[in-house]
C-alpha cells in the first residue's frame, strides 16, 4: 500500500549514507588539501562577482520599497533598520545560497555525473581512491567555508547599496542610515545570519554530489542530475530557512 513511499525513502537513506561518509572523511586520512583550495577558488572566488551584484541590487531595491512604505508613517529615517534586519537574517543568506546552488550545485552534479558515466568514479575506486574522500569531502569543506563568507560580503554590499539610495534619493544622512542599520542588529541576528549559510552550504554540496554520484544514462542522465541538484537544493534552502527562522523566533 505504501509502495509509492519506497523510492523517496530509499533515496533519502542513500543521501544520509553519503552525508555521513562525507562528514566522517573530514577526520580521516588522506586529506586532499589541494582539492579543497581548488574548490574554494571555484565556488568562492568564482561566485564573488554575481553575489556582489545581487547583494547590491537587493539592498537598493529594498531600500526604495521600504522607504515608500515607511513614508506613510513618517518613519523613512528608519529604513536602515529594516534593510539591515532583512538582509542579515534572510535575504543575504537565502539569495546567496540560491545563487550558489544554481551555479555550483549544478556544476558539482554535472562534473561528478560526467565522471560517473565515463567510469572515472569506478576507475578511482579500482585504483585505490575513495571517491567520497577525493570528490565529495573537499567540496563539502570548501562550500561550508566560503558560503558564510560570501553571505557576509553580500550583506555588506547590500547595505552599501541601501546607503547610496538612502543618501541620494531619500535625503537620509549616512550617519543616520548606518547607525540605525547597525544598532538594530542583535547577537541573535548575526548567529542566525551565519548559521543559515553554513547549513545551506552543507545542503548545496551534498545534494550536488549526491545527484552527480548516482547519475545513470549517459549525457541525458547528466542533464537530469544537474536539474535535480538545483531544484532539490533550492527547495531545501527555502524549507530550512523557514525552520531556522522559526527556531530562532521561538527561542528568542
Amino acid at each position: 500500500m505504501l509502495d509509492f513511499l519506497k523510492s523517496p525513502v530509499e533515496t533519502f537513506q542513500d543521501f544520509l549514507v553519503l552525508s555521513v561518509r562525507a562528514v566522517r572523511n573530514i577526520f580521516r586520512s588522506p586529506h586532499y588539501v589541494d582539492d579543497i583550495f581548488q574548490q574554494m577558488d571555484v565556488i568562492g572566488v568564482g561566485s564573488l562577482p554575481i553575489v556582489m551584484l545581487i547583494g547590491l541590487f537587493s539592498g537598493v531595491v529594498m531600500t526604495m520599497q521600504m522607504a515608500r512604505a515607511l513614508q506613510q508613517y513618517g518613519a523613512q529615517g528608519q529604513v536602515g533598520q529594516i534593510v539591515s534586519i532583512a538582509l542579515v537574517r534572510e535575504l543575504g543568506p537565502v539569495l546567496t545560497a540560491v545563487l550558489v546552488a544554481g551555479r555550483n550545485a549544478s556544476g558539482i552534479a554535472s562534473e561528478l555525473g560526467s565522471m560517473k558515466v565515463t567510469e572515472q568514479i569506478d576507475a578511482m575506486r579500482a585504483l585505490g581512491t575513495d571517491p567520497i574522500q577525493k570528490l565529495v569531502t573537499p567540496r563539502l569543506i570548501a562550500t561550508a567555508f566560503v558560503l558564510p563568507l560570501l553571505t557576509i560580503i553580500a550583506d555588506f554590499i547590500g547595505l552599501i547599496g541601501g546607503a547610496v539610495i538612502a543618501y541620494a534619493l531619500l535625503n537620509i544622512s549616512l550617519t543616520q542610515y548606518w547607525t540605525s542599520a547597525w544598532m538594530i542588529l542583535q547577537y541573535n541576528d548575526l548567529v542566525q545570519g551565519l548559521l543559515k549559510p553554513f547549513i545551506f552550504a552543507l545542503v548545496i554540496a551534498l545534494v550536488g554530489c549526491f545527484y552527480g554520484m548516482r547519475t545513470t544514462g549517459g549525457t541525458q542522465g547528466v542533464g537530469r542530475a544537474t536539474t535535480k541538484a538545483v531544484v532539490v537544493s533550492s527547495v531545501w534552502i527555502f524549507f530550512l530557512t523557514s525552520m531556522i527562522t522559526r527556531f530562532f523566533l521561538y527561542y528568542s
Binding site: T118, E119, Q120, D122, A126, G128
Partner: protein, 285 residues
C-alpha cells in the same frame, strides 16, 4: 609486485546473482580463473559482461553468492579492505575511465601514487618520485605512446586512449587483468594493435586475464596466437588444433546474466544453440 604461482586461484564466483531494479544482471554465475589462465567473454549488450568484471573487483556487490579474489572472499569486505586487493589487479574500462583533468603521465602514474600498498613499496619515505616517472615512461613505451606524456585524454584519439588505459592497468604489474571491450568502436587495424598489446603482455608476464569482447576475432587471436618478442609480430602457437593459449583459454557466452556457454574455441564452434551461434566465426544463424 605480487606474483601468483601457476594453478593458483585468482578469481572464483560461487553462484553469484545480482539484480538491477528487478532485472537480473548476473544470474547464478559460477566459474573459476587460475593464475596464467584466460577467459574470453562474449555476449549481447546488457547480458552482464561488464557487471561480471566489476563484481570481480568488488566495485558492485552481489545480492547472492560469494566472490573470491586472490583466495579471499570479497563479498563482505569494506571499501578500505578492498583497496589493497584491487592493487593486485588492473582493469581497462569500456569507457576508458581516464581522468580527463589529468595528463596522460598523471593518469598512468595514478595507481602507483594512490594505492596504499604500492605507494609504500615504490617510494618508501616519500622518495622515489623518479622511480614512478621512470616506470610510467617504461609502460608508455610498451604501449608505444612515448610522445604523449603531457597531453590530456581529450587531445588523443580513441585508440590511443584505449592504449593509455591498458598502460594504466599494466603499470602496477598486476596478477589479474580485466579488459572490458578493449576493441569496441575501433577500426580493425587499431583493434588488432590493441589485441597485439594484450598478447604481448601475456607473453611477457602470463597474467590471469578476463577479456570481454563483441569480436570473435579477438578471442580467436588470444586463444591461438602468441607474441614473438624477437620479430615483434604475432605468430600462431605450435599446436595446430588449439595452441598453447587454448589450453588455458576458455570461452564464455553470457545471456541475460547467465553463463550460457563455457568451453574451448572448438566447442564454441560446434555449439548449435542459436544464441551461441551468433558468436561463432561464421556465426549469423
Amino acid at each position: 609486485m605480487p606474483q601468483d604461482s601457476p594453478h593458483r586461484e585468482v578469481v572464483r564466483f560461487e553462484d553469484v546473482s545480482l539484480h538491477f531494479g528487478g532485472t537480473p544482471a548476473l544470474d547464478h554465475v559460477s566459474f573459476e580463473l587460475g593464475a596464467g589462465e584466460t577467459r574470453i567473454i562474449f555476449g549481447a549488450a546488457g547480458s552482464g559482461k561488464t557487471t561480471l568484471l566489476k563484481a570481480a573487483l568488488g566495485l558492485i556487490k552481489p545480492d547472492y553468492g560469494r566472490i573470491f579474489l586472490f583466495g579471499q572472499e570479497i563479498t563482505g569486505m569494506t571499501e578500505q579492505e578492498l583497496f589493497d586487493l584491487r592493487a593486485r589487479a588492473g582493469i581497462l574500462f569500456q569507457e576508458g575511465g581516464l581522468f580527463d583533468s589529468l595528463t596522460i603521465e598523471q593518469n598512468v602514474a595514478y595507481p602507483l601514487l594512490n594505492q596504499r600498498v604500492l605507494r609504500e613499496t615504490i617510494h618508501p619515505n616519500g622518495a622515489g618520485q623518479q622511480a614512478v616517472a621512470e616506470r610510467v615512461r617504461e609502460i608508455l613505451h610498451f604501449v608505444e605512446l612515448d610522445q604523449t606524456l603531457e597531453r590530456f585524454p581529450s587531445e588523443i584519439s580513441g585508440g590511443m586512449r584505449r592504449r593509455v588505459g591498458i598502460a594504466r592497468a599494466l603499470v602496477t604489474e598486476p596478477a589479474l587483468l580485466l579488459y572490458d571491450s578493449p576493441t569496441a568502436g575501433l577500426d580493425p587495424i587499431t583493434a588488432n594493435t590493441i589485441i597485439t598489446l594484450i598478447l604481448k603482455e601475456r607473453e611477457l608476464r602470463n597474467t590471469a586475464t578476463i577479456l570481454v569482447t563483441h569480436r570473435y576475432l579477438d578471442g580467436h587471436l588470444i586463444a591461438n596466437f602468441r607474441y614473438n618478442p624477437s620479430s615483434g609480430a604475432l605468430e600462431r602457437t605450435s599446436r595446430a588444433s588449439g595452441g598453447a593459449g587454448s589450453v588455458t583459454t576458455k570461452f564464455f557466452v553470457m545471456k541475460e546474466g547467465r553463463l550460457a556457454f563455457e568451453g574451448s574455441e572448438a566447442e564454441l564452434q560446434a555449439a548449435s544453440d542459436p544464441y551461441i551461434r551468433k558468436f561463432q566465426r561464421h556465426g549469423s544463424s
